[in-house]
């Protein structure tokens, strides 16, 4: 019953059609990111992930899952639920990008302006977030992450294997290229 050695953590929840994915559906490499919109390390990784996708446009797909650590990041859960409200309108990635590009503006007032900026109705989204309409989805991502051994953010899985390297562009490119050639 004891576990003397921790085997390399693997993704337990496979990617499904409900996931938010960016990049070709049939890509040989899928990167799953567990992220927290208020986490500075996720913010630092964001442009690198973006550039990785641009440079590997034919071979890599990025899936984003919510992992808000709300007790440390008071705006993280609301930001995640707002992104999910945007997703319900087919605008997940615009909201995702806005959030990571405005990490110092996640308070309710500025968040509302951000929603407006990407062309969505702020009052409508705000009402959905207030009523916790998207809380279950965010919670589901979080629990799936915890069960897969996510211990902080960002955590990446490259073709379902946990990425143990860094988040600088060369590290990311090396990881996805290795997976593509595996």
């Amino acid at each position: 019953m004891s576990t003397p050695l921790q085997v390399t953590a693997r993704l337990r929840d496979p990617v499904t059609a409900e996931d938010h994915a960016r990049g070709p559906v049939g890509a040989p490499v899928t990167v799953v990111e567990y992220g927290d919109f208020q986490c500075q390390f996720c913010g630092a990784a964001y442009p690198n992930l973006h550039e990785m996708l641009r440079q590997r446009a034919d071979s890599v797909r990025l899936v984003y899952r919510y992992f808000p650590i709300a007790n440390v990041h008071p705006y993280a859960e609301r930001a995640a639920e707002t992104a999910e409200a945007a997703a319900a309108r087919g605008r997940f990635w615009e909201m995702h990008d806005w959030l990571y590009e405005h990490q110092d503006q996640l308070d309710p007032v500025h968040l509302s302006l951000g929603v407006e900026q990407i062309g969505l109705p702020p009052d409508e989204l705000d009402a959905e977030v207030q009523s916790r309409a998207h809380a279950d989805r965010v919670r589901r991502d979080f629990v799936g992450g915890i069960r897969s051994g996510v211990n902080g953010t960002p955590t990446l899985f490259v073709n379902e294997v946990r990425h143990e390297g860094g988040y600088a562009l060369p590290d990311l490119l090396a990881a996805v290229d290795a997976a593509a050639n595996a």
């Binding site: 019953m1 004891s2 003397p4 390390f41 650590i69 440390v72 979080f142 915890i146 902080g152």
Partner: protein
């Protein structure tokens, strides 16, 4: 695992104890949670720079621990004042116990004391009868996450051992 002084292994009775949990001296220990699984999370120190703090993660996972009716107790050799400031900074609501005097006494009894004067980063899951069912020693600088804990709690639930 052959080290007789290593971390307590499954099948052993969990040593009983109580430790101060709050500045008013309120004492908490695993025996107060009999009938529920108890998770002991020994960790080296409040404020230690493990990126993605382990105790903050367990607080974020509190709703999942609740599903198993599991009690989570964090334990380090820090004193109650440090624990209180740390808990406030990270929004931690589960008890952080001060294994402060005699220093590291409880960690030693669980085989989770490091010679450099801190608790190891060690996880122990205790069933509702007080028997250790899973334990795991992590490198000090690696946050072990919670997947191993939940796997152990799943096995307990499957055995129907959980009080329901």
């Amino acid at each position: 695992m052959s080290d007789p002084n290593g971390l307590i292994q499954p099948g052993n009775a969990a040593p009983g104890f109580t430790l101060a949990a709050t500045p008013d001296g309120h004492q908490i220990g695993p025996e107060q949670f009999r009938g529920r699984p108890v998770v002991l999370a020994f960790y080296p120190a409040d404020w230690s720079p493990v990126c993605g703090d382990q105790m903050a993660l367990y607080q974020a996972a509190a709703p999942v621990f609740d599903q198993y009716q599991a009690a989570v107790l964090g334990i380090s050799v820090d004193n109650i004042w440090s624990h209180r400031a740390f808990a406030q900074a990270r929004g931690i609501e589960f008890p952080l116990l001060a294994d402060f005097e005699p220093k590291g006494e409880v960690a030693r009894r669980y085989g989770a004391y490091a010679p450099w004067g801190e608790a190891q980063r060690a996880l122990v899951v205790i069933d509702q009868n007080g028997t250790v069912v899973w334990s795991y020693l992590s490198p000090p600088d690696v946050n072990p996450g919670a997947d191993g804990i939940f796997d152990a709690l799943d096995r307990l639930a499957q055995q129907g051992v959980m009080a329901r």
